[in-house]
Amino acid sequence: MEFKDYYKTLGVAREAKADEIKKAFRRLARKYHPDVSKEPNADARMKEINEAYTVLSDPEKRAAYDQLGQGFQANQDFRPPPNWDAGFEFSGRGFSGADTADFSDFFSELFGGRMGRTGARGRTRFSARGEDHHAKILLDLEDAYQGAARTITLSAPQTDDQGRVGLRERTLSVRIPKGVHDGQVIRLAGQGSPGMGDGGNGDLYLEVHFKPHPRFRVEGRDVYAALPVAPWEAALGATVKTAVPDGTVEVRVPEGSQAGRKLRLKGRGIPGAPPGDLYLVLEVVLPPASSPKARELYQTMARELAFNPRQGPGA
């Protein structure tokens, strides 16, 4: 396990005052906010920043961390000595398992199991419902049409019988029903943190996102794709065959179509009640004038059509 230098993560001195730490955290939280940040790895950086702030903003944890961390450098191999936390009391204030579920194993080892230990040592039986966990799952668009079985690996801090904390990995096979769409949240009852005493397990919530698809774009339940057509197919109309997420369709390109025209295939978007629509956006592709015959055809059109695409407003 590597030692984490939380002061370095937040860019503050070891003797920084509470308000300096808060200021540094906010500056970084703004910079790496996953919804606005253009920084690479903003998500991962935000987790590190949150973890560092969780420790340094809590006087109890900070004091324990300071005592423990003397002489250690970031990334140095680290193993906390037995009973390192003797003499410290942790109230668990200011953070929750839901927030800390994806913190590093360094954090879990140090602070992850306080409530568990208190419960084990206490005379009265301690009961608490396990925390809910939140995670994201990436699916292919085709999964939304057909449903999918997905194996997810999760790791979460867990306390063993001796009160020692470790990260436990577990694998879940999840059957995703068809019709799932981007941004939707699915729930797995009882798959969050284990409860203590008579408390039940927490739940696991998975936020669904689609992997970027080379051809299809998704908006809600509607799906968009470009449909390349030849100029004569657009001008004269044609029936063309094209691949869609759940197979192949034949679509009628109406006569006189221009590039950008949207053809709507009602109900062929993501399944549901009601299902979404599939939109094919026409893209007129010109054949290259690479042979004498092709050049001659273009020259004939130029001569005989008297067509100026720059006529009209804005041209």
Binding site: F25, R26, A29, R30, D35, V36, S96, G97, A98, D99, R129, E131, D132, H134, A149, T151, T171, L172, S173, V174, R175, I176, P177, V180, G183, Q184, V185, I186, R187, L188, A189, Q191, G202, D203, Y205, L206, E207, P212, R217, E219, Y224, A226
Partner: protein
């Protein structure tokens, strides 16, 4: 050895007030306060025990919570920022749809 789970979609089985509170590790009062401030739940009825929350409500509640906690924002300001994030996401989807940005 893995176990197979059939999942529940929150659109089909929304969360109750208490379930949402547990899931966000806040009190039910926190949820009620935010619904009454008009920043969570579209067109809520008068009785909190009849409210139900879908996946987008859950994501919004967690977003509000994190904005308030990280930046000491009040509910209205957090609601405004969350609205702007939603709008940003809608515009990004449009840009991608028009092919003006890469994924």
């Amino acid at each position: 050895m893995s176990e197979e789970y059939i999942v529940t979609m929150l659109e089909d089985a929304p969360l109750s007030l208490e379930e949402l509170a547990i899931s966000c590790t806040v009190t039910p009062e926190w949820i009620i306060r935010h619904v009454q401030a008009g920043v969570l739940l579209v067109e809520p009825g008068p009785d909190p025990s009849c409210w139900s929350f879908t996946g987008s409500d859950l994501r919004r509640a967690r977003r509000l919570l994190s904005l308030e906690r990280d930046f000491d924002a009040n509910p209205e300001l957090a609601g405004l920022v969350a609205d702007l994030f939603d709008e940003l996401e809608r515009l990004r989807v449009r840009l991608r749809r028009e092919g003006l940005v890469s994924e």
